[in-house]
């Protein structure tokens, strides 16, 4: 456990030792701020209309009409930003030869992989902190429910975990960061749009593809529902990604 924490700390530090983490978080803040402003404006319009028309319509609330669509859109930023975080995790260590240090130290492969995973998750946690003041402001101005917000953050974090686990695996396959970054992005995008063919795939195909699709699983979390089905999906994608990474590091040892 101590070793995992040591690796995670080292990873997190290396993100913040270069401008990468600051640039990433800075631009995330800009895009997120723009989203937030836009959705707040739209929400404001809607609630004024609602007040003018009066009863008879479904009442709107901050959670459903503002926070949920906001985070669904913010998750698109993940799609673009996370490959940039994960692409260097293994590729960089292989290129600079530090992989030799880690693999000849008394560490297990699992400790290294989990440490790297937690390091990247730490960076994402810091990135998500940027969103907290805006949400806090809503509590000050309005009266949102905190529970759906908590599940949104949980779902967001779990979905990031899936991306990071898959990204780690892809990074472990190559020492070229550009390849690692782009392939990760392509795989993420596929997981994003895999449900688009919909009914073309026949009823079974549609069900399968919708199950594989990442945002579909996040949607319920954003609505305030913790469904074990989605929990199992996210946790198994994370576990599978980390497992593949361990196997990939091990197989590279054998191949030399």
């Amino acid at each position: 456990m101590g070793n995992i924490v040591t690796i995670a700390q080292k990873e997190l530090r290396s993100y913040f030792a270069s401008p990468a983490a600051y640039v990433l978080i800075g631009f995330f803040a800009i895009i997120y701020g723009y989203f937030f402003g836009t959705f707040l404006y739209v929400f404001n319009q809607q609630s004024q209309q609602f007040a003018a028309v009066g009863a008879g319509q479904v009442p709107i609330n901050v959670n459903q009409s503002l926070i949920q669509p906001l985070f669904m859109n913010v998750s698109v930023i993940l799609l673009l930003a996370l490959p940039l975080i994960t692409m260097r995790t293994y590729a960089e260590e292989k290129r600079s030869g530090t992989m030799e240090l880690l693999l000849t130290a008394p560490l297990t492969d699992i400790q290294i992989v989990v440490g790297k995973f937690l390091g990247a998750m730490g960076l994402i946690a810091v990135m998500l902190l940027v969103t907290v003041p805006h949400i806090g402001m809503l509590f000050w101005l309005g009266d949102p429910e905190w529970k759906p917000i908590a599940t949104t953050y949980l779902g967001f974090f779990l979905m990031s975990g899936c991306f990071v686990a898959v990204g780690l695996f892809i990074s472990s396959l190559t020492s070229n960061q550009v390849i690692a970054g782009f392939v990760t992005f392509a795989v993420f995008l596929m997981l994003w749009i895999i449900s688009w063919p919909g009914s073309f795939m026949g009823p079974n195909g549609q069900a399968l593809f919708e199950y594989l699709s990442l945002p579909g699983h996040f949607e319920d979390f954003a609505r305030g529902v913790i469904d074990t089905k989605h929990l199992v999906y996210f946790l198994s994608v994370i576990a599978f990604g980390l497992f593949l990474t361990v196997r990939s590091v091990d197989s590279e040892r054998w191949r030399g």
Partner: protein
């Protein structure tokens, strides 16, 4: 302390290390000598647990590297060919990180880091970033990292590569000091390094062990067939035949000179010192003996001699047997 038996490592169809066996005792400094691509780095990577062998076994500090990798790694310090540094860490941070992953107890970390920085003479640079260091300092930080957990076994892949002459001397001195307490394996293709620092040498070529012996014995092996260089003012006469007739001389080769001054390379029969007889023969003829010296046999010659032979023609076991001290003295 280190025991390697029939170690083989293949990359696909390419055999980098083929049936290599050797051992190193506690406190011994073993030199690993071979041209580039001989399999030195691969053997070391197997010993450090970086990669598993295709065949054979390697036991380090009593633990098989394949069956008990964590225990073996705990007792091994490794300096790879390129020092594995994180450019965005300072030397002190880097060594602290290494001490953690190498399992140095929390209470000893600070003192261990200070000790190795002192030993490798980098203490004054501890706040510098690893990415901004010169090659010599990178190498020393790499060495410091290998020493951190005070391992029983040290495996150093070309520890003096890229150092300036003063640093090379310092590093060799440090390795010699380490010899007593630690078992050291170092690889190099620089011959003087081996004769100056190592107790024993493993010469490896194309993945085979060509010879295992002490540097002195290896030099002695070829020493007996050493040649003698002669420079004679013959005043126009042909000295070749005269020299060849001296008892104990096997061959005479005229090397250069077409005027009265001629140079010859004389090979003596095994075990014969013909220098006195040669001098007498020249003087008796009334010629001028300008120069007479035994050509020095360096480890370099031994090395070239051994690695020029194609090891695939003979099984490697015979090479090892031929190189053992008993045979060479007999």
């Amino acid at each position: 302390m280190i025991e390697v038996q029939n170690l083989t490592k293949r990359y696909g169809t390419f055999t980098a290390v083929n049936d290599v066996s050797f051992r190193a005792e506690k406190g011994e400094i073993l030199g690993f000598l071979g041209p580039n691509g001989a399999g030195k780095t691969t053997t070391m990577r197997v010993l450090t647990g970086y990669m598993p062998p295709t065949g054979g076994t390697a036991v380090v500090a009593g633990y098989d590297v394949l069956d008990h990798p964590i225990e073996a790694k705990r007792r091994t310090g490794y300096l790879p060919e390129t020092p594995p540094l994180y450019p965005d860490m300072t030397i002190a941070d880097y060594l602290t990180f290494c001490s953690k992953i190498k399992g140095v107890p929390r209470s000893e970390r600070a003192s261990r880091v200070a000790t190795v920085m002192e030993r490798t003479r980098i203490a004054d640079m501890s706040r510098r970033y690893c990415g901004k260091l010169s090659k010599g300092y990178r190498q020393r930080v790499g060495l410091a990292q290998a020493l951190l957990h005070n391992p029983e076994v040290l495996i150093l892949d070309e520890p003096t590569a890229g150092l300036d002459p003063k640093q090379i001397i310092e590093t060799r001195q440090l390795i010699k000091e380490l010899g007593g307490d630690h078992t050291v394996i170092l690889s190099t293709h620089i011959l003087p390094e081996v004769s100056q620092t190592c107790h024993r040498v493993v010469i490896i070529n194309k993945g085979h062990v060509v010879a295992v012996d002490s540097p002195d014995n290896l030099t002695a092996r070829l020493g007996r067939s050493a040649s003698i260089y002669l420079q004679v003012d013959t005043m126009g006469a042909d000295a070749g035949a005269t020299l060849a007739s001296v008892a104990g001389v096997s061959t005479v080769t005229a090397t250069d000179g077409d005027g009265p001054v001629r140079a010859f390379e004389v090979h003596a029969e095994a075990g014969q010192d013909v220098r006195r007889a040669l001098a007498a023969a020249v003087v008796n003829k009334g010629w001028g003996l300008l120069e007479l010296r035994a050509t020095r046999v360096s480890l370099e010659d031994v090395f070239l001699h051994l690695t020029m032979e194609d090891p695939t023609h003979q099984p490697p076991a015979e090479h090892v047997a031929a190189a053992s001290p008993e045979v060479s003295h007999g």
